[in-house]
Structure formats: structure tokens, C-alpha cells
């Protein structure tokens, strides 16, 4: 016959046992998340629970911003107005030629029997905050699955590509910036059409044009735009500008450093571009993957 302590002494399993249980649970989750992406449904549930907290956490900042807006001086407003007028004037002349160019372009495309490019539907979103994760460069935007945001969509600002939607919650979405270490963007050099893949530089806020041959025709101050061959980004959006090129005979690749064209760290308003409809399906992979071009998947494709 075994003796048990009276029930008011029982304290459940020992701390070490509990620690072992929860640590193995955490490790399981991390492996599922990092390697197999099975943990998305769990993440979604927790994210929905955390959503009110997230919104509440943003309230003080928004209130402060509103107060600052209220006290904007008239001088500042007037200055901004003048600047905008000047900018408008400049843009107007471009706009006049744009219409005729667009018509001409459509006609030429028809002539070449090319598929007419339909302007993509887009969603205006606001960056809520930068994820408090020093290991990656991600921002959270205020539009999610309910507003039609899907993983893999391109995110741009008024100057160029900011990043790509990598995870969608019902009311929020995570955007991985092009400067993230895991993010790759297919680009081409405007000057000569040379295609390459640009890699995020991580913490430095720069980009690297890796695996470009040492004798490739890339010069400092070259503008890199999206090539559009991936079907994710529309072609021709500015991505980065080359700042420094190091060619070392010891390596077969040049080390090319670029700075992002878009204000990846500054702007609050961004545009989420819908993916182009009617593209032919991508070639069948060895293993079925969900639609979308998350950075992991893109890297995997590059390796193949």
C-alpha cells in the first residue's frame, strides 16, 4: 500500500519537470516554425488574441502624433504647401506625356501580341510598428487578410520597393523589408538590363548584389529596378542604387553594396500591390508548397 501526502501538500510536478515539459514544447514549436512552417495556425490564434493588446499599445503613440499634428505651425504648413506645389508642377509635365506614352505603349504591345498589362489593384496600408525582433527587419502594417492582403505581395512606397508581405494575420500583416538578411529580390540594372538577385544586408540597412561575376558590367550609382520575371513584383520598380563595388581577383564574384531606393525605415504609408492574375502556374516542385514567394521559398528555388 502506498502512502500519499495529504492533498493540501501537493504542489504538482517539480519545477524541473515543468521546465523540461515547457522547454521541449517551445523547441518543438521553434522547429516547426523555422523548418516546416506548420506552426502558422497556432501563431494565427495567438496573434488574434494579441491583436487588442497590439492596438492598445499603439494608442499612446498615436495620441502623441495627433497632438503634434494639432500644434503644427502655420509656417511649416505653408512651406510644405509651396514645396508640394512646386513638385506638382514638375509632375504635371511628366503626367501629360505619360498619357500619350501609355496609349502608344498599349498599341505597341498589341502589335507585339503581348499581354496587356492591367494596372494592379493595390491597398494603401500604414506601418504600425517595427517588430521588436533585433534579428530580422520586419514591419507590421494595419491591413490583413480581411482587407485582401496575401502572403507574397509586393509592398512599395512612393519611391520604390519596400518589401514583401510574408505573413498575414486577420487584421495585420508582416512585411519583410528588402534589407532583411533572408530577403531576396530579383532585379535588373537599368543601364544595360543585366539581371541579378539582390540580397538584404541585415542590420546595416544596405543590400548586396551577391553572386555577380567580377567582370559584370555594374558601375557605381547604377539604378537597380525589379525585373519582374518572378511574377511577384511588377517590373521597373526602383529597388536600390549601387554605392560601392569591390572587385578582388581572389574571388570570382564582385562585392557590390547598394542602398535601398525606397525609405525602408522612414515612411509610414505604403502600398500593397496585388499579385498579377492569370500568370501561368509555376513549374511543379518536388514538394508541394503554398502559393507565395516567402523568402525561404525563394532561397530554396535559387539553390535548385
Amino acid at each position: 500500500m502506498d502512502y500519499q501526502p495529504p492533498p493540501f501538500f501537493s504542489r504538482g510536478p517539480a519545477p524541473l519537470v515543468r521546465l523540461g515539459f515547457f522547454v521541449s514544447l517551445a523547441v518543438l514549436l521553434m522547429v516547426l516554425d523555422a523548418r516546416f512552417r506548420y506552426a502558422e495556425s497556432i501563431r494565427e490564434v495567438v496573434a488574434v488574441l494579441a491583436y487588442p493588446l497590439q492596438r492598445a499599445a499603439l494608442a499612446p503613440g498615436e495620441l502623441l502624433g495627433a497632438a503634434a499634428d494639432f500644434f503644427t505651425t502655420q509656417v511649416a504648413l505653408k512651406q510644405e504647401n509651396e514645396q508640394l506645389k512646386a513638385k506638382d508642377l514638375l509632375a504635371a509635365s511628366d503626367l501629360l506625356t505619360l498619357e500619350s506614352l501609355r496609349a502608344e505603349n498599349a498599341q505597341l504591345r498589341r502589335l507585339f501580341d503581348a499581354r496587356a498589362r492591367i494596372p494592379r489593384p493595390s491597398t494603401l496600408a500604414e506601418i504600425l510598428y517595427q517588430g521588436r525582433d533585433p534579428f530580422s527587419r520586419k514591419v507590421i502594417i494595419d491591413k490583413g487578410g480581411q482587407q485582401g492582403v496575401e502572403p507574397g505581395q509586393a509592398v512599395i512606397d512612393d519611391v520604390g520597393v519596400v518589401g514583401q508581405v510574408t505573413r498575414v494575420h486577420p487584421f495585420l500583416a508582416e512585411v519583410t523589408l528588402i534589407t532583411d538578411k533572408e530577403q531576396r529580390t530579383p532585379v535588373e540594372v537599368v543601364r544595360n538590363g543585366l539581371r541579378a538577385v539582390i540580397y538584404g544586408g541585415g542590420d546595416k540597412g544596405t543590400l548586396d548584389l551577391s553572386y555577380t561575376a567580377a567582370n559584370a558590367d555594374v558601375q557605381a550609382d547604377d539604378l537597380l529596378v525589379t525585373s519582374g520575371i518572378d511574377g511577384t513584383y511588377p517590373p521597373g520598380l526602383p529597388v536600390a542604387r549601387v554605392t560601392k563595388i569591390e572587385r578582388d581577383a581572389a574571388y570570382s564574384f564582385a562585392k557590390i553594396t547598394c542602398i535601398p531606393a525606397a525609405g525602408t525605415d522612414q515612411n509610414r504609408q505604403v502600398l500593397v500591390l496585388a499579385r498579377e492574375a492569370g500568370l501561368p502556374p509555376p513549374p511543379v516542385d518536388a514538394e508541394p508548397r503554398a502559393a507565395g514567394g516567402t523568402p525561404k521559398q525563394k532561397r530554396a528555388k535559387k539553390r535548385e
Binding site: R11, P15, L16, R18, L19, F22, V23, L25, A26, V27, L28, L29, M30, L32, D33, A34, A39, I42, R43, V46, A47, L49, A50, L53, Q54, A56, A57, L58, P60, G61, L128, Y129, Q130, G131, R132, D133, P134, F135, S136, K138, I140, R167, E174, K181, E182, G202, D203
Partner: protein
């Protein structure tokens, strides 16, 4: 600080709802848009460690794990990374809880600092293993500020328990 720790006061029993409120407030603090500010303390870790030291029966590894999960989902970090670190932190704090309260507040902070640093180091190790980049030594500055906040946190978090049980007109406080 000495005025309220010298005569050992008998505290009122803690309210679980108050503990929950402080944890939620700490999470709220952590989810605020801090962007790239260096040395922002991890309030959730601090509050969890505090309750694990003061109320090891009511706060435990499981709750710390759950709070960590919310942190991960809210920040887009690797799912389970904070949960892992907080579970260790809670275990360490519970292991220390009999010893730590014999010391003065700053000495207590010195006990908590290694715990906080270790939990951050665990997260760093996990992320490096998952292919992240080292974010620089200033990554650990958050733990220093959090440990420096320990005396303040002790004062604030124990305030409701310091109220007199019955209000006495002739006694201050």
C-alpha cells in the same frame, strides 16, 4: 528604499487579478512601437521574474511560457523563442526565490541580472541557430536597464499589498 524594508512588514495576500493586470501591462509596454531604440527593457521578463520570486506558487513556468508565446506572435519573431527563454527565466527565478529576498533591493537586482542576461543569450543562441545575424552587443543593454528597474518594480508591484487591512483614522498611510 530602506524605509520600507527595514521593519519587515507583513504584506496582504496578493490578488491574482492584480498579478494578471501587471503582466498584461508589461506585455503592452513590450508591444509599443520602440523601433530601434537601444536599451528598452523587456518589461514582461522583469514582471515575470518578479512574480516568480515573490509568488512562486501563483506564478510559474507555464504562465511565463504563454506570455512568451504572445510576445513571439506579436513581434513576428520565431514562434517559441520568447516562450523558451521565459520558461528558463521563470525556472531560474523560482530556484532563487528562497535566497534572493534576504538581500537588499540592489543586491536582488544583481541576482536578477544574470537571469535576464541568460534568457537573452538563449534567445540569441536560438536565433543564430535558425540563421539570424548577430545584432551587436547593445542587444544586451535591455537586460541592464531591466535589472536597474528592479527596485522601482518591487516598490510599485508590492504597493497594493502594503495597504493597511483596515483603515485607521489615527494612523498615517
Amino acid at each position: 528604499m530602506a524605509y520600507f524594508e527595514q521593519p519587515e512588514r507583513i504584506l496582504l495576500p496578493v490578488k491574482v487579478s492584480y498579478m494578471a493586470l501587471t503582466v498584461v501591462l508589461a506585455l503592452l509596454f513590450n508591444l509599443m512601437p520602440w523601433n530601434d531604440l537601444v536599451g528598452v527593457p523587456d518589461m514582461a521578463a522583469l514582471v515575470l521574474a518578479f512574480w516568480c520570486v515573490h509568488q512562486p506558487r501563483k506564478m510559474g513556468i507555464g504562465i511565463a511560457w504563454l506570455v512568451g508565446l504572445v510576445m513571439d506572435a506579436g513581434n513576428g519573431a520565431l514562434l517559441g523563442q520568447h516562450a523558451f527563454a521565459y520558461a528558463f527565466l521563470a525556472f531560474g527565478a523560482i530556484a532563487l526565490h528562497r535566497r534572493i529576498l534576504w538581500f537588499s533591493l540592489w543586491q536582488q537586482a544583481a541576482h536578477v541580472l544574470p537571469l535576464l542576461l541568460a534568457s537573452q543569450a538563449l534567445m540569441l543562441g536560438v536565433r543564430l541557430a535558425a540563421g539570424g545575424a548577430f545584432p551587436g552587443p547593445m542587444y544586451f543593454a535591455g537586460s541592464l536597464t531591466a535589472a536597474a528597474l528592479w527596485p522601482t518594480a518591487t516598490f510599485l508591484l508590492l504597493l497594493p499589498q502594503r495597504r493597511p487591512e483596515s483603515v485607521d483614522e489615527n494612523r498615517p498611510l
